[in-house]
């Protein structure tokens, strides 16, 4: 009982601390933490980036240092520019966001700039992703998701419950696919085993994803016109649902930072939900499919 009281006390103190700190400082600090944890893949630049970010976290003055944010932007843009063809999408998002932070600290209205750009970045990213899916015939007719359900072991739960495939068949598909990939020179082709139910499920799931991503994209671009935060909760559900199955924590983290940045200063509840989400994202490392299906 005492332990529960103590935990409750600590959480309340933390909440007070978070709510009393200027929002822009929190956003910049979260960005620095993100850069330390998920920064760059190149070793030498990652070390220099981490050292700079750690120094900046140590004092408020350094957190908003204009010149240090320029240095961060130069490092990130040059490394990502060099490996533009191989870096993941969250690395691009990280680059855009560091540029926004740099522009923001060079101006007086730091929070307003972060707020405005975060909303547009979420909107554009989701709209472009939706457009691309609509353009791709493989996605539009369900082929892409059907194939993904059959060959990606992170999607085992979908193939089992959504597609009605037996576990033995699911594993046989992984084996056939692995056989094809391991020596494509001698194997001209392979067959996978699917069901009609999985085909229908793939099409429904494809359209559902399109609908949700498109809705988030458009609503964030138009968000200025709306007063309620209904769309934020759809965005949060999207992050939770997606990153349980695809635990790319870096991407979830940067989406949460963008989410926090576009929350009004007077909306403390929504702000705390995003903060909690960043912490909860860590549990996506638990292999849920293995726990459920063995």
């Amino acid at each position: 009982m005492r332990l529960v009281k103590n935990i409750d006390k600590i959480l309340n103190q933390l909440k007070e601390e978070l709510l009393n700190t200027p929002r822009e400082m929190l956003i910049l600090r979260l960005t620095l933490i993100f850069l330390i944890l998920h920064g760059l893949s190149s070793l030498t630049s990652q070390i220099s980036l981490r050292v700079i970010c750690m120094l900046m976290l140590m004092s408020n003055k350094l957190t908003v240092s204009r010149y240090l944010w320029i240095v961060i932007s130069i490092i990130i843009v040059s490394v990502h520019g060099l490996y533009w063809y191989s870096i993941d999408n969250h690395m691009y998002l990280m680059t855009y966001w560091c540029l926004v932070c740099t522009i923001a600290v060079w101006n007086k209205k730091v929070f307003d700039i972060l707020y405005h750009n975060a909303r547009i970045l979420i909107g554009l990213t989701f709209c472009f992703a939706t457009f691309w899916k609509m353009w791709s015939l493989q996605y539009f007719d369900g082929t892409f998701l059907n194939f993904t359900f059959l060959t990606d072991n992170r999607m085992k739960l979908f193939s089992f419950y959504g597609g009605g495939l037996d576990l033995s068949i699911i594993h046989q598909n992984y084996e056939n696919y692995g056989l094809f990939l391991s020596h494509p020179n001698i194997e001209k082709f392979q067959y996978l085993i699917s069901t009609e139910r999985l085909r229908v499920f793939s099409i429904v799931f494809s359209y559902l994803t399109l609908l949700i991503e498109g809705f988030i994209g458009v609503m964030f671009l138009l968000k200025k016109s709306f007063k309620n935060h209904f769309i934020d909760y759809i965005f949060i559900s999207f992050i939770v649902f997606t990153y349980i199955f695809f635990p790319v924590i870096g991407f979830g983290f940067i989406l949460c930072i963008l989410g926090i940045s576009q929350v009004n200063k007077n909306n403390n509840n929504l702000f705390l939900v995003y903060i909690t989400l960043i912490i909860l994202l860590q549990i996506t490392l638990i292999p849920f499919d293995k726990l459920i299906l063995g």
């Binding site: 063809y85 522009i103 791709s136 020596h183 494509p184």
Partner: protein, 176 residues
């Protein structure tokens, strides 16, 4: 939240980064649709939109005319010092004929050794690989010609068939 800004900073603050996003989207979309860039890369907007599993298929032609499968690797080749570390990755994600030709030339006249592998399905297969630990062996082969192509996986939903198709031209390099 209103941004009351003077005209000098208005564009920079409101639209500079979004404009960069739009430009990168346009470039990525063009390169992926007109050229050979993987839709998953170069901006990331095309992730989870299409199947983009790629591989480099390579064969070596012996002096006797036999065609043997190759395992592609540039580590420890004489030309590897002149090529970037991620050369193979770039070739798969954004294949260009001139780079593929460079790879074929890099592998030509190199010493290959036979490796046997066994798949869990008990299917034995043989490939010819280049590796430092084999360099000193006497039992090596130098191919008369190296033929390479970059292939992409195709899945037919109606038949559930998985196969690969060529992305760009087949490239050859002779060992003189």
């Amino acid at each position: 939240m209103n941004l009351n800004l003077n005209k000098k900073t208005w564009f920079e603050i409101k639209f500079l980064v979004p404009l960069i996003v739009v430009i990168i989207f346009v470039i990525q979309f063009l390169l992926a649709n007109v050229s050979t860039l993987s839709p998953w890369k170069g901006g990331g907007f095309g992730m989870f939109s299409s199947i983009s599993e790629r591989m480099i298929k390579g064969v070596g032609i012996t002096i006797d005319g036999d065609t043997l499968d190759l395992s592609i690797n540039i580590k420890n080749t004489n030309c590897s010092k002149n090529l970037p570390v991620d050369f193979i990755d770039k070739l798969i994600l954004y294949p260009k004929n001139k780079d593929l030709k460079k790879l074929a030339e890099c592998l030509s006249c190199e010493r290959f050794v036979k490796i046997n592998a066994q798949h869990p399905k008990k299917l034995n297969y043989t490939k010819y690989a280049l590796s430092k630990k084999y360099i000193n062996t006497e039992d090596y082969i130098v191919f008369k010609e190296i033929i390479l192509e970059v292939r992409e996986l195709v899945y037919e939903r109606e038949t559930n068939k998985v196969y690969s198709k060529k992305i760009n031209s087949t490239v050859k390099a002779l060992c003189d």
